[in-house]
C-alpha cells in the first residue's frame, strides 16, 4: 500500500467490451473504466422515464456475512433495523462512524438470519470491507464477492415488459414486491433480482456471475430494442437519481455529514438497542440540526454544480451545493445543497454562486420528480 503508485490501473467490468462496442464513452470512476454515456445523457435519461434503460453497475461492492450472528453484526453496523426484515427483503440504510457521520449508504439484503448481503458504493469498497471484515471477526464469516459479482440495473416503465420476454420465471418478477429480491432465471442466466433502483422509476437490479453479465446484458438489450430500451451511462444515472432526490455518496453525503441533516432521518432507527453512531446521533437530534440538505431550483440563468457556494440575499456565504444539473424531465436547473435550518423552508430565496455570479435560486419540495403510481 505504501509503494508509490504512479497511476493506479483502472479495473474493467465484464461488460467493458460491450460498452465500447455500443459507443460508450469510457471514463474513470471509482477505480473503474465506466461508460458516462452512449448516445447522450438526455436521450438516455428520457429512455428511462418513458421506456427503460440498462445500466452496468458491476463496480458496486458486494459483501456477504454468514453464520449464526450475521444478522446481529450487520444490524449493529447500520442505522436501519435489519432484524425486522423478512427473508428476501432488502433495506436502504447507511453505516455511520462513532461520530454519527456517514461512512456509506448501503442496501442490505436479508437472505436469511444467517446470510446477509450488503451492497456498497464502489468508491467506498475498501473502507466498508474493512469495517465489515473487522466486525465479523470472531462473530461470523465475511466474504467480499465484488470481483465475481456483476450487477445490472433495468429501470423504467417498460422494464417488466422486457422481462416478460425473458422467460417464464423472469416474467413473474412483476409480482415481486418493492425492496424484495429472489433467485430467478432471466434469459437462461441464473440471477438474483431485486426490485430496487436508483432512477426514481420502477425496475429491477440484477446480480449474476461476473462471466454471465455479457449474455444477460445483450439479451435484455435485444429483447427491449423495439420497446425503446437503451444502454445508459453514469451521466443519466446521475440526472435520474437527482430528479428523484436520491443521495449520491461523495456529493450529498460523506464523512462530514450526518444522516439526520441529509434528510435521511427515515433510515435511522434511534429506537434500536444499539448501533455504531447511535449515541452521537441521539445527541445531534437532541441539540437540533444546524443545517439541512434541501432541494432547490435555479430560477436565474445558471446551472448549479457540486461545490458551488450558496449565499443569502445579502451575499453572505451560508451553504454549499452538493449536486446540481439540468433536470431533463422536470425541465429546470435543479440542485441539492446544505443551508442553515432557518433558510430551509420551501420558497426561501437565495443565491447560488455560479463561478462568481450570484444566480437566484429557491428552495423547493423534493423529490423534483415522482413517477405516477402504476395501477
Amino acid at each position: 500500500m505504501s509503494e508509490s503508485t504512479p497511476e493506479a490501473k483502472l479495473a474493467r467490468t465484464s461488460l467493458y467490451e460491450d460498452h465500447v462496442r455500443l459507443g460508450g464513452r469510457m471514463v474513470p470512476f471509482a477505480g473503474y473504466e465506466m461508460p458516462v454515456q452512449y448516445t447522450g445523457i438526455v436521450d438516455e435519461h428520457k429512455a428511462v422515464r418513458t421506456a427503460a434503460g440498462l445500466f452496468d453497475v458491476s463496480h458496486m461492492g458486494e459483501i456477504e456475512m454468514t453464520g449464526e450472528w450475521a444478522e446481529s453484526v450487520v444490524d449493529y453496523l447500520v442505522t436501519g433495523n435489519v432484524k425486522a426484515l423478512q427473508d428476501g427483503q432488502a433495506l436502504y440504510t447507511c453505516a455511520c462512524n462513532k461520530e454519527g457521520t456517514i461512512l456509506d449508504d448501503l442496501i442490505v439484503y436479508k437472505i436469511s438470519k444467517e446470510r446477509i448481503l450488503i451492497v456498497c458504493n464502489a468508491g467506498n469498497r475498501d473502507k466498508i470491507t474493512k469495517v465489515f471484515k473487522s466486525a465479523a471477526e470472531n462473530h461470523c464469516e465475511y466474504k467480499d464477492h465484488s470481483d465475481e459479482t456483476a450487477l445490472i440495473a433495468l429501470q423504467g416503465p417498460k422494464a417488466f415488459d422486457v422481462l416478460a420476454r425473458a422467460g417464464k420465471d423472469a416474467a413473474d418478477l412483476v409480482n415481486l414486491a418493492s425492496f424484495h429480491f429472489r433467485d430467478v432465471v432471466i434469459a437462461n442466466v441464473k440471477c438474483t433480482a431485486a426490485r430496487t433502483g436508483y432512477t426514481a422509476e420502477d425496475g429491477v437490479e440484477i446480480f449474476c456471475a461476473w462471466k454471465d453479465a455479457p449474455a444477460l446484458w445483450n439479451q435484455l438489450l435485444e429483447l427491449g430494442k423495439d420497446l425503446g430500451v437503451l444502454p445508459c451511462g453514469l451521466g443519466a444515472r446521475d440526472t435520474l437519481r437527482l430528479e428523484g432526490r436520491l443521495s449520491l455518496y461523495g456529493n450529498d453525503i460523506d464523512e462530514t455529514t450526518n444522516p439526520l441533516e441529509a434528510g435521511l432521518g427515515w433510515i435511522v432507527k434511534l429506537d434500536k438497542p444499539d448501533f455504531v453512531g447511535k449515541e452521537a446521533l441521539v445527541a445531534i437530534k437532541a441539540k437540533g440540526l444546524t443545517r439541512k440538505l434541501v432541494g432547490f431550483e435555479v430560477t436565474g440563468k445558471g446551472i448549479a454544480r457540486h461545490g458551488y457556494k450558496l449565499r443569502d440575499l445579502q451575499g453572505t456565504e451560508v451553504g454549499l451545493c452538493t449536486s446540481g444539473s439540468p433536470g431533463p424531465t422536470v425541465g429546470k436547473n435543479i440542485g441539492l445543497g446544505y443551508l442553515p435550518t432557518a433558510m430551509c423552508e420551501v420558497g426561501t430565496k437565495f443565491f447560488c454562486d455560479c463561478r462568481g455570479k450570484n444566480i437566484e435560486a429557491v428552495v423547493v419540495k423534493t423529490p423534483f420528480y415522482k413517477r405516477a403510481k402504476a395501477s
Binding site: 459507443g23 464513452r25 469510457m26 454515456q37 451521466g235 440526472t239 445558471g302 446551472i303 454544480r305
Partner: protein
C-alpha cells in the same frame, strides 16, 4: 478516446486549439465551437456571455461559458477586437449548438483590430491533426 481518428472539418473556416472555429468576412470574425467540442460536451443546456456588444476583448480571454448537462467550458476570444454581435438565439435555444454548431449556433462576431489576425489560426487539416492528437 479513439473515435476521432478521421474527422474532417469545413475547409472555409479557421480553428483554434480550444476547439473553436472562426470565419473572417472583411473586418469581422464570426466565432463558434467545433463539432468535436460539441461531441465532447454532449447535450448543450446553457450558453452565457460575459461581454456585451461594444466591449473590447483580448485574444485568449474568456467571453462566456457553455454548459452541458454534465459539464461546463469557457469560451475564449481567438483574437483582439471589439464585440460586434452576440447570438441571442442561444439564450432560449442552447440546443442549436448540438444541431448546427457551424451555422445557426455561431456565438460571437468580433470587429477585428487587425484584419489579418485570422491568418494565425489553424486551417482545417491542422485542426484535424490537433483533434487527432488530443484523442
Amino acid at each position: 478516446m479513439s473515435d476521432n481518428s478521421d474527422k474532417s472539418f469545413p475547409t472555409d473556416l479557421k480553428y483554434t486549439k480550444d476547439h473553436e472555429w472562426a470565419k473572417v468576412t472583411g473586418s469581422e470574425m464570426t466565432v463558434g465551437i467545433t463539432s468535436f467540442a460539441v461531441e465532447q460536451l454532449g447535450d448543450i443546456t446553457l450558453v452565457s456571455f460575459d461581454v456585451k456588444v461594444g466591449d473590447e476583448i483580448k485574444a485568449g480571454k474568456t467571453f462566456g461559458t457553455i454548459e452541458s448537462v454534465k459539464t461546463l467550458s469557457d469560451l475564449f476570444a481567438p483574437v483582439n477586437g471589439k464585440v460586434a454581435a452576440l447570438n441571442a438565439d442561444l439564450d432560449s435555444k442552447p440546443e442549436l449548438v448540438n444541431e448546427d454548431c457551424f451555422g445557426k449556433a455561431w456565438m460571437i462576431k468580433i470587429t477585428l483590430d487587425d484584419t489579418k489576425a485570422g491568418d494565425a489560426l489553424l486551417d482545417a487539416p491542422a485542426y484535424a491533426a490537433h483533434v487527432k492528437a488530443a484523442g
